[in-house]
């Protein structure tokens, strides 16, 4: 197990390096740069050239790249090109908001989706298709709704009509209740889409396992349906479910960008949108590297959990 983790970790280093490099060059190859974005239509010609010089944009690409790598290794992410504020500070301030939304969403989704999916699978296995159809049908409809649309509908119903949750406003950790109220709608919106996928995958995985020979063996040993379901079926169905949880974390990082924008939440997503709009290389590349690292860490965790769940997983 330790061996396995170490090997997986060693592979990560190559991945991280690849991502970091790719991010840098992709950004540089997009037409337009920070200087022209900052200048807008007002300045041009020599003034713009001066601005480029000041911002270090005229240095050769390889030296910019080396400076960038050096910065990453020493945890010095520089200042934003536009506002001259330290990038690390901005990200650290925005991160708790986004992460709390993501984690709450995952928790909510898992606690709802796995029991629902298992229930649907059990019903389908027994040939009682009514409840199964209801669950899978609802899941399908929810899955088809894009999150920006759900966000607007929820905003309309829960904030504007019912007035249960604030639609916008300041956000702070001082009052946990207010904080939860403020992020409740984003979490709900994100959960809806995640829920559908996860419930469907759980259903498929459990349904397949339920017709396996070893489940019949457990039944033939006289174990109750509950024990068969939890000890044997769910444990064996866990692999695809864990995969989906890992993937949905990734999806969530995308989802938060849209939802934070709609609900005006000062999270990482909003930082990214602002950064892109102002061609703020420093901000954007740090954020993308940050996102990529998060993805890699989640995948790494998924691999380790895989191995812990199924001793047959080879490396």
């Amino acid at each position: 197990m330790v061996d396995y983790s170490l090997k997986k970790f060693a592979q990560l280093i190559f991945t991280v390096f690849g991502v970091v490099t790719l991010v840098f060059f992709t950004l540089r190859f997009i037409p337009g740069d920070a200087a022209s974005a900052m200048a807008g239509d007002t300045i041009s010609g020599e003034a713009l050239e001066l601005l480029r010089e000041q911002m270090g944009l005229n240095a050769p690409l390889w030296s910019q790249y080396l400076a960038y790598l050096h910065g990453l290794v020493t945890f010095d992410f520089g200042v934003t090109i536009t506002t001259q504020l330290p990038v690390a500070d901005l990200i650290l301030r925005a991160m708790p908001v986004t992460l709390s939304i993501a984690v709450l969403t995952i928790v909510l989704t898992v606690t709802l989706a796995i029991p629902l999916g298992t229930l649907a699978a059990l019903m389908a296995h027994r040939g009682q298709n009514g409840l199964d159809n209801a669950i899978t049908g609802t899941a399908m409809v929810l899955d088809l709704m894009p999150s920006f649309w759900t966000a607007l509908v929820f905003l309309l119903i829960f904030s504007l009509t019912l007035g249960w949750f604030p639609a916008s406003g300041t956000i702070s950790f001082d009052s946990p209740v207010d904080y939860l109220k403020r992020i409740a709608l984003p979490v709900l919106v994100l959960s809806v889409t995640q829920l559908a996928t996860m419930a469907r995958i759980t259903r498929t995985a459990v349904l397949e396992v339920l017709s396996e020979d070893y489940v019949r063996t457990a039944r033939a040993m006289g174990w109750s349906e509950m024990r068969v379901l939890f000890r044997h079926a769910l444990k064996n169905a866990a692999l695809p479910i864990v995969t989906v949880i890992g993937l949905s974390f990734g999806n969530l990082l995308n989802g938060t960008v849209i939802v934070e924008f709609i609900f005006t939440i000062p999270g990482i997503g909003n930082l990214l949108i602002n950064g892109i709009n102002s061609r703020d290389y420093q901000m954007v590349q740090t954020l993308i590297v940050f996102y990529a690292l998060l993805f890699i860490v989640i995948n790494f965790a998924t691999d380790i959990i895989y191995r812990a769940l199924d001793p047959r997983v080879k490396f």
Partner: protein, 660 residues
């Protein structure tokens, strides 16, 4: 068996059991009024082909049927209690505790992500009300009893760390450790090698005798029944057609189906020029069972009455009942099946031409690993094999799984590149695979499947190809209409005929058949074997027939090569190898084959081969078979024997072959 058990009420009493599977295409009446009884400590075999309802019947007893299966009527009494009227919770106290179960496929019947201890100890704690420590000791005891070496360590293993035979032993230990009164074994040895099968059967026999557990043994292998059972129930189309003591069933079978089944098995004394008896046709579709006797359409003794009324089981002897209007079944009917083989002597080419020549063939598989130290592990699948096949000759290759016989087949066809050695083939080699349904594209029509090799080699034009297709399909005993069907619309036997037609398409000089009959039912198997032998005679093709079924190989092959761990250990004419095996491994293989004759079986002193095939990853230095050989001495462990000629016509690789 004492007289008291005869008088006492039976342990299990099944009355008029009916089971249905409701599908979209209609209701399949899998079990159609089955009644029988099992007494304490008795071993009853349920015999039937796939689709006969034997497994559905067994699963109905404990209500373990998967949806949409459902017991529709009947009573199942276990020591007087009706299991059908129990609630699910009440039934759970019977399952495992009073009735143990062993299933067919040991590879999938144990939970793959749980250690053996986790699967074995809780049932023992529950059934025998023991503490965890005591249950653990009990589990180790039972693992030891079923012959698992180092049981204490093995208890903490995962199923995937064990071989199929070991897993089936674990299943048996799991079932018996709860001290059930009845053990239901559903084809427990079908997935295993013949030597392992013999070991498992012996374990079950001694342990159930020791504990007085009654046993219901479901199988399609009549030989096993003869070795094992006290009584036999023969099932056909969801009903028991014959039931009686094992000797009566084998020596005086009364139902035409039982009689036909027994005659389809190639006997040890089979005369090669006689065709195997075969049962024509296929079992009926259980969605619409025919009126009258279900076997009518395949029965030579059928009379007008059989079409109207289904016969009830009627007494034929002491405890022997059969469901047939004819008092003696097929007896007295002309058995068309046993005719002599037509002679093709006139146009047969001389046989001196060597069609296949294999010289010192080796195939090693190695998997270099990125992170591990030391040399990559090498699997020596084929280790210096030399063989020859003459024109019109059949070479049988036998051995346990893992002996390299399939690798030889793949090498012959060029599907793998040999590590060293030479293969010469005069003409073209084609292949017939084991599982016909898995080797066809399900979306292609039969015609297109057979035509494929012709198109690949751009053989003829469209008209010529279509004429060739019609010729091929009739050659393998199908009709032209079959060309338009899809593989799923054919039965297993028909699909294997199509596979043969495809192999014949390009007029090959050699056909390599890898276990071509082992996926087929007994009654269909004989049809395919007859077809292959006919084609060999007719076309003068050389055959390489690879199988673990020794009786079939003996019947079909002219010469036999016995393989063990990638090497040929004995090679010679089929009859001689079987009648006077020279190598101890050949001897053990032949002894492990159960014969469909309870009298001979009872007399046979079966010396079982111990242990399993060693890993081909680290072959022993001396004789590969030394670790399991009953006559191995020091020289065997240090010095490798080479193939030599102990007899004029035969080769064997053994130091002691002269002393046998």
């Amino acid at each position: 068996m004492t007289y008291q058990t005869e008088i006492a009420p039976p342990l299990l009493d099944v009355r008029d059991l009916c089971t249905e599977f409701g599908t979209d295409h209609g209701t399949v009446k899998a079990v159609n009024g089955v009644s029988f009884a099992i007494n304490e400590g008795e071993r009853v075999a349920i015999v039937g082909e796939s689709g006969s309802g034997k497994s559905a019947m067994a699963m109905s007893i404990l209500r373990l049927l998967a949806y949409p299966g459902r017991v529709t009527s009947g009573k199942v009494r276990l020591e007087g209690r009706d299991l059908c009227s129990l609630s699910e919770r009440q039934l759970n106290s019977v399952r495992g505790r009073e009735v143990g179960t062993v299933f067919q496929d040991p590879m999938s019947s144990l939970d793959p992500v749980m250690r053996i201890s986790k699967q074995m100890i809780p049932p023992i704690m529950r059934s025998l009300r023991l503490s965890r420590e005591k249950a653990r000791a009990e589990a180790i005891l039972w693992l030891d009893k079923v012959g698992i070496p180092d049981p204490e360590r093995r208890l903490e293993a995962f199923p995937f760390e064990m071989s199929g035979g070991m897993r089936q032993r674990v299943m048996i230990a799991m079932a018996l450790s709860c001290r059930p009164r009845l053990l239901i074994a559903d084809e427990p040895t079908t997935a295993l090698d013949v030597t392992i099968q013999a070991q498992i059967v012996e374990v079950m026999k001694t342990l159930t005798a020791e504990t007085g557990t009654a046993m219901m043994f479901i199988t399609h292998d009549l030989g096993l029944v003869a070795r094992f059972a006290d009584k036999v129930a023969v099932m056909y189309a969801g009903r028991i057609v014959e039931f009686g003591p094992v000797r009566d069933i084998f020596c005086a079978p009364a139902h035409p189906y039982t009689q036909s089944l027994l005659s389809t098995i190639p006997s040890t004394k089979a005369l090669r020029h006689e065709r195997l008896a075969q049962i024509p046709g296929m079992p009926p579709d259980m969605k619409s069972p025919p009126q009258g006797c279900a076997f009518r359409a395949r029965c030579a003794a059928a009379v007008a009455r059989c079409a109207q009324d289904a016969p009830e089981l009627s007494p034929r002897g002491s405890g022997h009942i059969a469901a047939c209007w004819q008092p003696k079944g097929l007896e007295g009917c002309k058995r068309t099946a046993c005719e002599s083989r037509p002679q093709h002597g006139g146009n047969r080419p001389p046989r001196e031409r060597t069609m296949v020549e294999i010289n010192r063939l080796t195939k090693h598989f190695s998997s270099p690993r990125l992170f591990s130290r030391g040399p990559a592990p090498v699997v020596r699948a084929v280790n210096g094999v030399t063989l020859r096949v003459q024109q019109g000759e059949t070479l049988g290759i036998v051995g346990e799984s893992g002996c390299g016989k399939s690798t030889v087949a793949r090498l012959l066809l060029g599907l793998e590149q040999p590590t060293s050695g030479e293969i010469f083939i005069d003409g073209l080699a084609q292949m017939v695979f084991q599982d016909p349904s898995a080797s066809f594209n399900p979306k292609m029509r039969i015609g297109a499947i057979i035509e494929e090799p012709l198109i690949v080699k751009s053989w003829g034009d469209k008209a010529a190809r279509s004429a060739r297709l019609r010729q091929l399909i009739t050659q393998v005993g199908l009709e032209e209409a079959h060309l338009e069907r899809y593989p799923s619309q054919l039965s297993g036997g028909q699909r294997q005929r199509v596979a043969v037609a495809r192999a014949l398409a390009l007029d090959p000089s050699v056909i390599v058949a890898d276990e071509p009959t082992s996926a087929l039912d007994v009654s269909v198997r004989a049809q395919i074997i007859n077809l292959l032998v006919d084609l060999k005679e007719e076309l003068g093709i050389a055959f390489v027939f690879i199988s673990h079924d020794l009786l079939t190989v003996r019947y079909i092959a002219d010469r036999i090569a016995v393989m063990y761990l990638g090497e040929v250990v004995e090679y010679g004419p089929a009859d001689q190898v079987f009648d006077q095996p020279a190598h101890p491994y050949t001897k053990a293989l032949i002894e492990a084959v159960p014969l469909p004759d309870p009298v001979t079986e009872a007399r046979r002193a079966t010396r079982l081969l111990e242990g399993e095939l060693p890993s081909p990853l680290n072959l022993p230095k001396g004789c590969a078979f030394a670790s399991r050989c009953p006559i191995a001495t020091d020289i065997c462990r240090t010095e490798k024997p080479v193939l030599r000629h102990p007899m004029k016509t035969r080769e064997a690789a053994c130091h002691h072959v002269n002393s046998i």
